[in-house]
């Protein structure tokens, strides 16, 4: 069975990527191992999905909990991942607090000394945070609160979620999202419970079809996931 490991920075990315993979691959195809990398240890949180003999692919999703940078966590785990049959390892990190003009330098930096024999390693950078992707899913605002209209958002926040790419227009997407929600007395909550609510509000079809053309970092990340999903099965 083909195996992929994904390392992300925190809860937001963890729950979002989990849901995104299920949406892209289709439910019932992927067996997940959900883990947490903290204090130098990899802690298994839960396994889910079809049994191993029925699953088409296996994905270990790891939350680095912010205390271990994604690249270091991957390099630290690479020998074990290789020995346990993984072929591909993906990392997802934010550009923020760095700015857009630093993206090129960061991309080059994360590629430096980032390899392990027999493993395909890649790090994707969300510009500036994955909240930028949420910002452009413009239909979800009405589900947050019907009073949060497109006109109100444009007039009050100065950001047009339909026409502008949050990637280039918004320096701190999580802050912008929070300030938009605050227009109607709501708040963007990055805690675990808040993330579950957030994911229930997002329309993943819209993300897939409407946000990808507006957000090159999201498009690249989805292509990275699809590259694995669509790859031929392995013998082992």
């Amino acid at each position: 069975m083909k195996k992929l490991a994904i390392f992300v920075e925190g809860y937001t990315e963890f729950f979002f990527v989990h849901r995104l993979i299920n949406e892209v691959a289709g439910y019932g195809r992927v067996r997940f191992e959900l883990t947490q990398h903290t204090g130098g240890r990899l802690i298994s949180l839960k396994s889910e999905g079809p049994p191993e003999d029925a699953a088409e692919m296996f994905i270990m999703l790891c939350n680095c909990c912010g205390d271990g940078k994604v690249k270091s966590a991957i390099l630290e785990r690479a020998p074990l991942l290789k020995n346990t049959g993984y072929q591909t390892v993906i990392g997802l990190r934010d550009l923020y607090p760095k700015q857009l003009h630093e993206l090129e330098k960061l991309e080059a930096g994360v590629k430096t000394d980032f390899s392990y024999p027999g493993l395909d390693l890649k790090i994707f950078i969300a510009v500036a945070e994955i909240e930028a992707w949420f910002l452009n899913e413009h239909t979800h605002y009405q589900r947050v609160n019907p009073a949060l209209t497109h006109k109100l958002i444009v007039d009050e926040s100065g950001f047009d979620p339909v026409r502008e790419s949050a990637e280039t227009a918004v320096r701190h997407p999580a802050g912008k999202l929070n300030s938009i929600y605050a227009l109607v007395g709501e708040q963007y909550d990055k805690k675990q419970s808040g993330m579950h609510r957030m994911l229930s509000l997002l329309d993943f079809d819209r993300l897939y079809w409407d946000v990808r053309p507006m957000s090159s970092s999201f498009d690249e990340f989805v292509r990275g996931i699809e590259g694995f999903i669509d790859s031929p099965p392995t013998v082992s």
Binding site: T38, G39, G40, D67, G68, K69, V70, K71, S72, A73, R93, K98, E102, K105, L106, A108, G109, V110, T112, D113, I123
Partner: protein, 396 residues
């Protein structure tokens, strides 16, 4: 006063030669380095200078210090430089500079001068093994030494990785080693006696102190509903029981005394007691205004987090950094724990690297570009240390 840098050497010209190149400090500092790179030794160097200037140390066989300070004077910062060199338990040179003026200098004979308030020089002769800065410190005649004296007498060095006073108990009716309450508590004299610090501080500040200790314990993952002093029943001094720290942990019906606490929990509690007491006593000396840099004693914590689990040690460091920034405390911590290193921003780091008998520090102040570049590699802070990225500055 803030210590802004220190440079040290000893046994110059002999096989025992050992030196620390200029090590600059910020407000918050984490000293990291491999074992035997000199972390604890640097702490000892700062401490030795302080106890000498406080008049509490015998002369050293060998040692040469150059220490730069900054004194907050209104909105201005006034630089001060103190230098001293010991050889064969005598002082061969000593000087003190305030801004660009040398206000004291003496030679090996003990002869020298101190600048007078009117601008002239007053000649003095002090014993060869005594510091002029100590012998001639006088708030009326030579007030220039006052801030140096305050810095040196108040410096608190906490050895977190040690027993840290777990065995020190307090008798309620005995005089405190840390003195009375009129001028505040001498925290430097009670660094290994958290129970006494608690007793004296609680007597003065009551619930405010208790509340801040409980709040901090909770913030690092030890929720407690009570903290106080409790008789230690299994120790009896002529019919009376000594007092020790005790907490009531949330969810437990009984008290946990300092004797029964895990070493990690005791260390965390003792440090929280000490730091909060430091803040409250400093505030009580500066009533009516916010604390400025130098109002609180400089705090040094060796082996921070040692004995605590990862999550609590991470939270403890966050708490300390937060307090240091809020109350303008100069904080120096040392550690070689990788998880602590990963959690403390690189801007606070000093990496020590020893080449033979020479210790070189690398930090933002002397290697800014290397630290900045490292940020783009997307690696853990620990990798900066373990892969020796910091050395790029000496190679570049």
């Amino acid at each position: 006063m803030y210590l802004t840098s220190i440079e040290y050497q000893e046994h110059q010209g002999t096989s025992n030669y050992w030196s620390v190149k200029k090590l600059e400090f910020g407000n918050v500092n984490l000293i990291v380095g491999k074992n035997s790179s000199g972390k604890s030794r640097i702490i000892n160097i700062i401490n030795a200078l302080a106890v000498s200037l406080a008049g509490r140390a015998a002369p050293f066989g060998s040692g040469s210090w150059s220490a730069e300070f900054e004194r907050q004077k209104g909105l201005q910062r006034e630089p001060q430089v103190y230098k001293v060199e010991f050889k064969d338990t005598a002082i061969v040179h000593e000087s003190f500079k305030v801004k660009s003026n040398t206000v004291m200098e003496r030679g090996a004979s003990g002869e020298g001068y101190v600048a007078s308030r009117k601008g002239g020089r007053v000649k003095y002769q002090v014993p060869r093994d005594r510091l002029m800065a100590v012998m001639r410190s006088d708030p009326y005649q030579h007030p220039q030494f006052e801030h140096l004296k305050i810095w040196s007498t108040s410096l608190c060095v906490y050895r977190f990785g040690s027993e840290f006073g777990k065995g020190s108990l307090t008798m309620q009716n005995q005089p405190s080693p840390a003195g009375g309450q009129q001028d505040g508590l001498d925290m430097a004299a009670a660094v290994d006696n958290a129970s006494n610090v608690f007793l004296m501080t609680h007597a003065k500040f009551g619930f405010d102190f208790e509340f801040s200790v409980l709040q901090d314990l909770e913030s690092i993952g030890y929720p407690c509903t009570y903290v106080g002093m409790h008789p230690i029943q299994n120790i009896n001094f002529a019919g009376s029981f000594p007092l020790g720290l005790a907490v009531k942990e949330a969810g437990l019906a009984c008290l946990t005394t300092q004797n029964d606490m895990s070493q990690g929990m005791y260390r965390a509690l003792a440090l929280i007691v000490q730091v909060n007491a430091n803040i409250l006593w400093a505030q009580s000396r500066k009533v009516g205004r916010e604390l400025l840099p130098g109002d609180s004693p400089m705090i040094i914590i060796d082996d921070i987090g040692e004995g605590l689990d990862f999550d609590r040690s991470k939270r403890l460091i966050h708490l300390l950094v937060q307090k240091a920034l809020k109350y303008k405390i100069q904080l120096i911590m040392s550690s070689n724990d990788r998880f602590i290193m990963n959690d403390v921003p690189l801007e606070y780091w000093t990496v020590l690297h020893r080449e033979g008998s020479v210790v070189r520090p690398f930090n933002y102040m002397n290697s800014k570009s290397v630290f900045d570049e490292f940020e783009y590699l997307g690696l853990n802070n620990f990798d900066f240390f373990s892969h020796e990225y910091f050395k790029a500055s000496s190679q570049g």
